[in-house]
């Protein structure tokens, strides 16, 4: 079981904080919405990912399990 970032697009308000906190995997499009690099999150990046998830003001960012 590995983990991946997922976005609840209904909640996401383009605060952009996540891209600041986790630039290794999140950039922003021209409207300020996150573009996620879907690659698996290696253990050394887990802490950054977790921080971005925790800091999203509307809880739109999630770490979701992925089988395999």
């Amino acid at each position: 079981m590995s983990e991946q970032l997922g976005i609840d697009w209904i909640r996401c308000d383009a605060h952009g904080l996540c891209a600041e906190l986790f630039p290794e995997r999140i950039s922003l499009d021209e409207w300020g919405y996150p573009i996620i690099d879907g690659a698996e999150i290696a253990s050394e990046l887990r802490a950054h990912a977790g921080r971005a998830v925790a800091q999203c003001p509307v809880l739109a960012l999630r770490l979701v399990g992925r089988a395999g």
């Binding site: 976005i7 697009w9 209904i10 909640r11 996401c12 499009d29 409207w31 919405y33």
Partner: protein
Amino acid sequence: MTAATRPDATTLPRLLGGMGTEVDLRPLERHLAHHGDLPIVVDPGRPDQALLDEVRASGLGGRGGAMFPASRKVDAVLSQRGRPVVVINGAEGEPPSRKDHVLMRGAPHLIIDGAVVCAALVGAREATIALEQSARREHRALEEALRERAAWGHDDGIDIHLETVPDGFVVGEERSLIDALNGGPGKPTHAPPRPFEKGLGGAPTHVQNAETAAQLALIARHGAGWFRSLGTDQEPGSALVTLSGAVARPGVYEIPIGASLHDLLVAAGGLAAPVQAYLIGGYIGTWISAREAEGLVLSNAALRPLGASLGARAIVALPETACGVAETARVAGYMADQSAGQCGPCVLGLDAIAGGMERIAHGDGSQLADIQRWLGLVAGRGECRHPDGAAKLVASALTVFEDEIARHVHARKCTGDGTSVLPIPRDSRTGRRA
């Protein structure tokens, strides 16, 4: 007991009773004489395993657009705790598609039979048939059919409700539909939970398209072998197609999946005018040039290499006199309007794409490169696949109508005669920006 003779497996029509768009099997007596009795008994709380085996063997894929195996939907519902319910999706919010409307108003008993079969499959005691507010004739036909069944003492063993939902392209998306039925605004809700987990009234919900339900009503009568004797091995059975545009007899046709576009056009009396391109799969579909469409086979397997799919099988023949660029710009505007307005990339992206296409239609190609980028930014970035579909349509237009786009932009010339072919509902804003 009315026993209709078992229809020849290899001949059509199955669903439309030989009457095409004008199918009229509304009276119960006529329905039973044509199709025979539905040989199942619903046992609420007890899913019908033998029936499920038959449906699995039939290989029936959902006719609402995705062709997802009906049996696997049942499996998903049965994996849940709680008393399941059934929702038959008759919303058909796609303007160029009319097949569910034709079925509901011409063969309402077959739809109701289908709801009963769905209930038997999951062991439900309730089924809801949902249709658009504007579908008044369809509502009347179904209502009348339910009344007739009651008057005949025809006990279906379940409660069947008829509900209307607001009109709109996205309302037919299953989570949106359930949201509307649950008293919400009719917008897709975040998944999970999906309808099979938590749907109508919070119950595990088996959602099936109206045509899929009708197909199930026939599989329950005639079996999997009968069903599979038409269509392809991978995509068995027949399917309804809504054909419009430059054909002699536009309307709803039933084809074996894997039939050629040519045969469909022949059935429709041929082309009414020279055609430049076909829209395959409606407003979440793909433009295919007339040249590429020669020898085209109507199955997802055959369409996949072209980047196309059958979708809900709305097919539009675009005459040479029309302008594919203007048509696409109008539809892009409509699809932007129809966004449920919840997800940033869908709202802003579709609006930007529609604006860019509108500019091109007016000879301003300054945003062509932007459109390409925006198309990449909307796909896969919404709660539902509405933006993906709209992007696919526009992307195919940029290729198929490349020459026309160049003519618009460089020569400021539109070769269209100003008529519009693709339908846009009247209450939707069609123009973008002033």
